[in-house]
């Protein structure tokens, strides 16, 4: 039977215009990390856009209107699905697009269309909804192990507070030095903070959103928002850029109204605490460090200065920059859930990050994303270049 569903169903008006507005100039390819490591232009933004335009023409073009929608070319659909899932959704292409296409938002919505057509997600990504339904997290790990293995005994969590901390699944299960650093620093600031019990701190929805599987989002978000509301929270702090991104950009729409609390990335909270003297970094660090901007933190929500402020406030430190940093940062390879399927691409991208950090003679590579942290550490195994990798709060917590 013909699938007559319109290819524009999941897109906003702006996104349909964006697809039309691509001039096919190819400027974006110079900034695409996947192009860098695969050299395959089939994965490129203009190719993806060209393919999707053909799909729209088949179901929504003038001919389709006059004579009924046609079936999109199946081979092209499969090629497209692979290409759109191989992308890390880092958004560097959009940042460098002469037309200004917001690709960081466009690709996830095109993925959603693929899911609706049974062509996405790819590989293990398809297991995410069942894992979250079963355990509350995409790793299908027991809730009992969410905090226990890393939570420092000396840190006290209030039952209710204006401030809450959300650890996030990747931090809690895969990048524990990072979340441990977070709570140690929050504790050192001295303001009481609360957390949801481990079985209530479920996935923020990002892994589902980014792979185009939106069905469980409403349940998860409502559960979390109500949980924090019940604890009287006015400020929700999180260190994971992906969680922070979906919380700020999508939670209000998914929840159906403005959130009853504001969202802050941990570096925003900590830089303010340093500025106001609530947190003092007494220990010296005579090192050159290089900070990698996570795509969903810099391009995603514009948190660029605060991590640098935190780092620069460490006595004795020298902060170096990657060639591409801030809004223009290069993906370390972990984004868009592509790392779970296109493992070799992710490792190659991670190694590019390591190589540049080493070439710049940094003593340490500072990361601020649990996915980057896990994958870049993995990329370093067996690699010719080695560097010490530290999460930003892991670093700060060791200096107070």
């Amino acid at each position: 039977m013909k699938n007559k569903r319109s290819f524009t169903t999941e897109l906003s008006a702006r996104q349909v215009l964006e697809l039309d507005a691509c001039t096919q100039c190819g400027e974006c390819l110079k900034h695409c990390p996947v192009q860098d490591v695969t050299g395959n232009p089939a994965v490129s933004p203009p190719e993806k856009i060209r393919m999707f335009r053909e799909f729209i023409r088949a179901t929504d073009g003038l001919k389709a209107r006059l004579f009924g929608p046609a079936e999109a070319d199946q081979k092209l659909l499969q090629d497209f699905a692979k290409a759109v899932y191989e992308c890390t959704t880092c958004g560097a292409c959009g940042q460098n697009c002469p037309v200004g296409i917001f690709t960081q938002r466009l690709w996830p919505m095109l993925r959603k269309e693929m899911v609706k057509r049974g062509l996405g997600p790819i590989g293990v990504q398809a297991e995410t909804p069942a894992a979250i339904k079963n355990s509350g997290n995409p790793y299908n790990k027991p809730a009992g192990e969410r905090y226990k293995p890393w939570f420092p005994e000396q840190v006290k969590v209030a039952d209710r507070s204006d401030i809450a901390y959300y650890a996030g699944c990747t931090g809690a299960y895969e990048s524990q030095p990072m979340v441990k650093g977070d709570v140690l620093v929050l504790n050192a600031i001295g303001e009481p903070f609360t957390m949801l019990p481990p079985e209530e701190e479920v996935c923020c929805g990002f892994p589902l959103f980014i792979t185009g599987q939106h069905d469980l989002l409403k349940d998860l978000v409502t559960r979390l928002v109500k949980g924090y509301k019940a604890k009287g929270v006015k400020k929700l702090i999180c260190s994971c850029p992906c969680c922070v991104n979906i919380m700020t950009r999508d939670w209000p729409a998914i929840y159906g109204e403005a959130l009853p609390f504001k969202i802050r990335h941990i570096t925003q909270h900590v830089s303010e605490a340093i500025r106001t003297g609530k947190l003092q970094l007494r220990n010296k660090l005579s090192e050159s460090v290089i900070y990698h901007d996570p795509c969903y933190l810099s391009r995603g929500v514009g948190v660029i200065e605060e991590p640098r402020e935190v780092l620069r406030s460490i006595p004795g430190i020298t902060v170096l920059e990657f060639e591409r940093h801030g809004l223009n940062s290069r993906c370390c390879g972990s984004g868009g859930a592509a790392r779970k399927v296109f493992h070799e691409n992710a490792i190659a991208m991670g190694r590019q990050t390591i190589d540049e950090a080493v070439a710049k003679k940094a003593d340490r590579l500072i990361l601020a994303c649990p996915a980057c942290y896990a994958k870049v550490n993995e990329a370093m195994q067996g690699h010719k270049n080695q560097i010490r990798i530290t999460d930003i709060m892991e670093l700060v917590s060791g200096l107070i």
């Binding site: 524009t8 215009l17 039309d20 507005a21 096919q24 390819l29 929504d60 037309v99």
Partner: protein
């Protein structure tokens, strides 16, 4: 005599082709507009924080459109030539209005010399862009559609230069022919093969005219609004 007949036939064919291309252009445009209209009816509730229109965003968008500001940011080496290409293309198109209008407005007369200079510059700008796209390692990708359009405009503009310098067609005939098409009162085609080729290629260009010329300015405006609103995402909310 023989030649005269074939030119008259050719003229008739070209007139039919011109009307067909004109109709196809509008059909294509309507096809796109229907999609835009359909999606514009959709309530975009994906984000509750829709950026508002700010004067600064509008001003920057005007710069983006008029000076290709975003190209300047992402590829300065290509920017100046891209800008020269777009500006000279526009001037050449405006210069050609003298064939479409009667009486010819003063401003079209004023644009004749700048338009003539632009006509000579245009092929060189296009050649530069093509060389960059095809021969340099800086460009990782050259879309066939993009190359086709660049090649087409290069051919049209080069023929234009040749006609202007070496084999000038009878301009009165040209005006009568074009004016006849515009006013649905067909006249005989000029007896210049180069002109006929030039005209045919322009029809092909119209057929493949990219719709980004309509949508890109709107997307540029959205991009500026989004950039201005970035601080509203997590800093000032």
């Amino acid at each position: 005599m023989e030649k005269g007949h074939s030119i008259i036939h050719m003229g008739k064919i070209l007139i039919v082709a011109a009307y067909a291309v004109y109709a196809a252009f509008w059909l294509r445009f309507i096809g796109h507009a229907l999609v835009w209209w359909k999606v514009s009816q959709r309530l975009d509730n994906r984000s509750l924080a829709r950026p508002h229109l700010k004067l600064k965003a509008c001003a920057l968008t005007v710069l983006d459109v008029v000076l290709l500001g975003r190209v300047f940011i992402v590829n300065t080496a290509l920017w100046i030539v891209e800008w020269v290409f777009h500006a000279s293309f526009l001037l050449v198109v405006l210069r050609h209005l003298r064939f479409f209008l009667d009486p010819v407005p003063d401003w079209v007369w004023w644009l004749q010399t700048p338009g003539l200079i632009a006509g000579y510059v245009l092929p060189f700008a296009l050649l530069y862009i093509l060389v960059i796209r095809l021969l340099t390692k800086l460009e990782k990708y050259a879309a066939p559609a993009n190359l086709f359009l660049l090649g087409l405009v290069l051919a049209i503009s080069s023929i234009g230069v040749v006609m202007n310098t070496l084999f000038t067609p009878d301009l009165v005939d040209v005006k009568l022919f074009i004016f006849g098409i515009v006013h649905f009162a067909p006249a005989a085609a000029p007896g210049s093969v180069l002109f006929l080729l030039h005209f045919c290629l322009v029809l092909v260009l119209l057929l493949f005219l990219p719709t980004h010329i309509f949508t890109a300015p709107l997307v540029m405006l959205e991009a500026r609004k989004r950039e201005q609103a970035l601080r509203l995402v997590i800093h000032e909310k």
